[in-house]
């Protein structure tokens, strides 16, 4: 049996009658220490998927199991990295991580806790900014703090909700490398939600596309068989990478077209009105 399993999960919002189903019959199974990337268009229910996987949201039907036990409420064993960091702005980098560490490892002595926190600050290379407040940090640094905070809880599963999508391209590339390094160093099960196919191919062992919402579901997966460590500089010329990327992109765009075709056109029919050019008449007058 898989480590983390999602079986035929459906969830929707809104009142009875005008209910929008966000996910329908989505299934996913993740092996231990596997790095999974879920790619999808915006609005396809990615964040809902994160909430489901971490227990922040209960499914309407279906079940999510971690090591065979159903997930019913959130907890530190289901670590989550939020898209907008959600750091506590009144606490320093150290304070933010310490809050998590204190809660998850209450039996630690003061010295142990300090060492624990500092280890994770070091892991995301933020030791020099240890006493800074989040407002004094750049976006990339904030996301590192958020990552360190989640990792410091030593979760069994790490779910990342578009962790890098709010960052600029350079910082993003930098953090991708960092993510790989940290994952290699501190292996655990990772589910990363992303809208960037390149990123998914670079990082993941397996890529699962999310079909267009509403009533999205998880399509069949693409295995990434590229050798690790993957070098982003040579990857662009790697035929296997190109092939995989094109396949996924094709799949996604085809899905997009299909969804557009299916969508009923509710737009108003516009009257056929053309502007009249009066300039000529003016000149002749």
């Amino acid at each position: 049996m898989a480590f983390l399993e999602m079986e035929n999960v459906s969830v929707g919002f809104g009142p009875e009658g005008s209910r929008t189903e966000v996910l329908r019959d989505a299934s996913l199974s993740v092996e231990e220490n596997e790095f999974i990337a879920v790619v999808g268009f915006s609005g396809s229910g990615k964040s809902t998927l994160v909430s489901l996987l971490t227990g922040l949201l209960r499914p309407d039907s279906g079940v999510i199991k971690l090591k065979g036990k159903p997930v019913t409420k959130p907890g530190p064993h289901l670590g989550i990295v939020f898209q907008n960091y959600s750091l506590l702005p009144w606490l320093s980098v150290y304070g933010n991580i310490e809050l998590a560490a204190k809660q998850v490892f209450p039996h630690y002595s003061k010295a142990q806790r300090k060492e624990h926190v500092e280890r994770y600050i070091e892991m995301v290379s933020l030791t020099p900014a240890r006493n800074k407040k989040p407002s004094e940090l750049s976006g990339g640094m904030r996301q590192r703090v958020s990552l360190a905070r989640t990792l410091s809880m030593q979760p069994e599963v790490l779910v990342m909700d578009e962790p890098l999508s709010a960052l600029d391209a350079l910082t993003r590339a930098n953090l991708q490398d960092e993510l790989v390094r940290i994952w290699e160093e501190d292996k655990r099960t990772v589910v990363m939600i992303t809208n960037d196919v390149d990123e998914a191919v670079l990082l993941a062992d397996r890529i699962v596309p999310l079909t267009m919402g509403p009533s999205a579901t998880l399509a069949s997966d693409f295995k990434v068989t590229l050798e690790r460590p993957r070098d982003r500089t040579t990857l662009n010329t790697n035929p296997e990478f190109k092939k995989l990327r094109n396949e996924i992109i094709h799949f996604m765009t085809a899905m997009n077209k299909e969804a557009k075709m299916l969508r009923v056109d509710k737009g108003l029919a516009m009257p056929d009105i053309q502007p009249i050019d009066y300039s000529a008449t003016k000149r002749s007058a």
Partner: protein
Amino acid sequence: MKFKILKALDVAGLQVFDPVVRLICGENPPEQVRKILLFIGVPIVTFIVFLGVWTYLAPRHTTKAGEVPTPGVVKSAADGIWTFHVRENQKATDFLLEGDAREAALTAVEARIAELEPLAAAAKVKLDELDAAAKAKIDAEAAPLQEQYKEMRKTSRDENKATKAALIAEADKLPVNDAAARDAFLAKVAAFDLKQEADKQAQKDFKAKIDAAYTTKFPEMEAVRSEYNGYEEELQYLSKRLDYLTGDNQSLKIAGESTELNELEATFLTAEGGKATFAAAEKVLKKQEAITRISDSEYSRPWTFPRQIARSVWCVFVGFFIGTAIAVPLGVVCGLSRVCMAALTPLIALFKPVSPIVWLPIVFIIVGGFISDPELAPVHPAFLSSAITVALCSLWPTLVNTALGVASVEKDHVNVARVLRLGFFSRLFKIVLPSALPLIFAGLRISLGVGWMVLIAAELLSSSEGIGKFVWDMFNNGSSQTFAQMFVVVFVVGAVGLLLDRIMIVLQRSVSFDGAPTAI
């Protein structure tokens, strides 16, 4: 260093002085000078214009209590208030002085009196001279006017008499039943009446002119008079000091009583016979009691204005703390529970607009019910009622802001708390309250401002010692200075309010984590 100062100015909400610091550090002088002119120069010019308009307009409006005071008069009233305060403090110190310090003070006071007396005498002589001269001048001016007035009245009287006689004579000859002739006569009488009225009015106006001559002010004489008054006041004060340094001095009194006590004790020791011994013993005890009473006694200092300000500030803080102690917990409860919010919203909406003038009598009666004897109570009931009224009127902004802050904690932060499985209290103290703190402090700042405004009215009504009572006393005593003193109060209340607001801004800034800009 520079950035530390700039940061401190920023936190204190004094960014106005930012360019001054930068200019001193030599950073882009033309730009800084431009900023200084804009942010410091323009307000100063405005203030000067304000003073100018005030100086121009004030003397043009005369009331029963005298002219509206000009800035100069207000300034001298403020000086007067301050001098009174300093002198009262000095008397209180004098009362307690003993030994060499008392001797030294005594010498100083005597020296000052010796110095002042000739000055006062000289001023008196000069004043009398000027007064006489002024009187002579006024008389000289007024005498011809008086003559003229008399003349005017006489002519008018004579004329009117003559006209009246002529009219009566004419009436004698009026034919009966000649309507036209009678109408013409009627018109003549009416004209006569009109003329009489006009004469009276002219006389009245003339009289006013004479009165104005009598009340002519001679600036030189006024100056000498105020100088003389100043000397006299100081001399009076010094003679009071003299009393407190000699006859009324506490240590001297105790010393005197102690010698008497020694004598009485000696008598008691040697007393023979039951009755005499008993009487001597009673006398000794009485004397001992008297000594204790004197050493416990204090100079009964009146409530000078600076002390009233201090008392008002203390009162507003007591009220503010009572209000905060109610508003913050209640606001947290409202913010956390939608049921409480729904339950309390109508009550909040109902009580929020109630004026302090309504609360105060109610509070006064209730507090009076608990404190039967104001003299024995640890706090004066009037003070307590004022403070509670301040609390009742000022707690609403804090309450509403706290509820809002607690209810609007970011969803992501709530999710963090859920992932960490924080308990109720750690969720409250580690997530909810810190994130609501900036809003709570914004509420507190409004509350303190409201409280300060309410307090003056409350003190005025409850006669609790403070700025409000000062205003009320001034309003009621109606001396020539009161009008100006009330203007002093306007500036004092404004300045203290400004200061309180600044303090709250600093507090607010120190708890806000998003670097929110502060309002002016």
